[in-house]
Amino acid sequence: MRVLTAVIAIAFGILILLGYFLPQAAIIQTILLNWAVILTGVAALVGLVNLMIVHMDKVRRSEKGSIYSAILVLVMVLTFFAGVILRPDHLLMRKVILDGIILPVEAMLMGLLTVTLLYAAIRMLRKRADVMGIVFILTAALLFLGSATLPFGDVPVFGTLIRPWFTQIFALGGARGILIGVALGTLVTGLRVLFGMDRPYGGK
């Protein structure tokens, strides 16, 4: 079984990869990716069932924070059946579930993040008061000063000279360096999986 799963994974990986280089293989690549999308949908259902089991177990054992688990399970079941009966494009689903609950909650978390990041910057100096930490904070402060919208327009020098210089030279160069490193890491990790050296599907 282990060998079979490895052979299937490697064969399909090679077929997908060939799709990027051979036009003939691109058709197979599209079909395989469509299959993968369907499997992702099934995996989402499995993930939701798994999440429900975890939280029902918490409620059963009256663990810390189990009231939140109970609310989560209840809302999950209600949303699931409402979606199945009414269909996702029903006005009630869009207005109540999406526009009324999901989007405001995500927006709230985004707002919370703003405060969290400000606090993280302050905390950073406590945790790591080294040269790089100070440079990080000073650079962030300079860029904020340069991009601040003020009643009288841009802050002279900061908005017109320092910020563009930092973002276009230092930040862009650093970002490209990091992204090249990540791309190389992704390439080699992908090859490791393709050759069966890493088997994240339980074979090894």
Binding site: L39, T40, G65
Partner: protein, 243 residues
């Protein structure tokens, strides 16, 4: 043509260097975050608290899958080492397929440690399908499940800030790396020992993975030098007006 050449070169180098590394063990430079991670794995067994490994929300169907696969390789090693602990490690993911692989990987770790009867399927979870819902679910684990260390490896954006804040409030050690620039900046500011860029992909090698992991670091180094050479030559030619 260039892409195919790089791919073939990387593949040949990986195979050759993997065989070479089997004979001569690798020497790795010290990265404080990995030293902390190794210590956290050991301590979690001793003090009866669990590790929470969060694998981000990178989909395996696009370019973000690379970081997810690297995180799975790390999870496999951690799961094997902490499988006999009273408080087994918990992993969370923000993508359905990654969630399935998370469960499979943890189970593989338990099998490798010959304790597969101790495996609990609910230790690998999909906590949400959007970045913020995933972060909210992962924060719940970090808050309520007696976690000693939060390990964030994979694709994280701005939502990493929420997870980092939870770690700080609970006085839990945070080790984090993301392939996303926003996530990386936030984790750099939030964690004590930051992991930058491709260091995310080195976790397996530092945790004592097989020779393929150390070989892949060498291949990355060789390719990086080739990129540096190409950039330098290109800049030089542009400077002299060759093109």
């Amino acid at each position: 043509m260039i892409a195919l050449s790089i791919l073939i070169l990387a593949a040949v180098l990986l195979v050759v260097i993997t065989f070479w590394k089997r004979r001569s063990p690798a020497r790795l430079r010290d990265i404080p975050a990995f030293t902390r991670l190794i210590r956290a794995v050991g301590l979690s067994i001793e003090d009866g608290r669990r590790l929470h490994i969060s694998l981000g929300h990178g989909s395996l169907l696009d370019a973000r899958g690379g970081s997810a696969l690297a995180a799975l390789a790390t999870l496999r090693i951690i799961a094997e080492r902490t499988s006999v602990s009273d408080m087994p490690s918990v992993a969370s993911a923000g993508d359905p397929t990654l969630g399935l692989l998370t469960q499979d990987t943890i189970q593989a770790g338990y099998k490798a440690a010959n304790v597969d009867e101790l495996y609990v399927p609910t230790t690998g979870r999909v906590t949400g399908l959007t970045p913020f819902s995933y972060a909210a679910g992962a924060m719940h684990i970090a808050n309520n499940e007696n976690v000693s260390t939060n390990i964030l490896l994979g694709h994280f954006g701005a939502e990493a800030g929420l997870l980092a804040d939870t770690s700080d409030r609970d006085h839990v050690t945070l080790i984090g790396a993301s392939d996303n620039l926003t996530g990386q900046a936030i984790l750099y500011a939030s964690s004590q020992d930051a992991l930058i860029g491709e260091e995310l992909f080195a976790a397996g090698a530092y945790l004592g993975g097989d020779p393929a992991h150390t070989a892949s670091l060498t291949v990355q180094d060789i390719l990086r030098w080739l990129v540096i050479a190409a950039l330098s030559v290109g800049a030089g030619l542009k400077l002299v007006g060759a093109f």
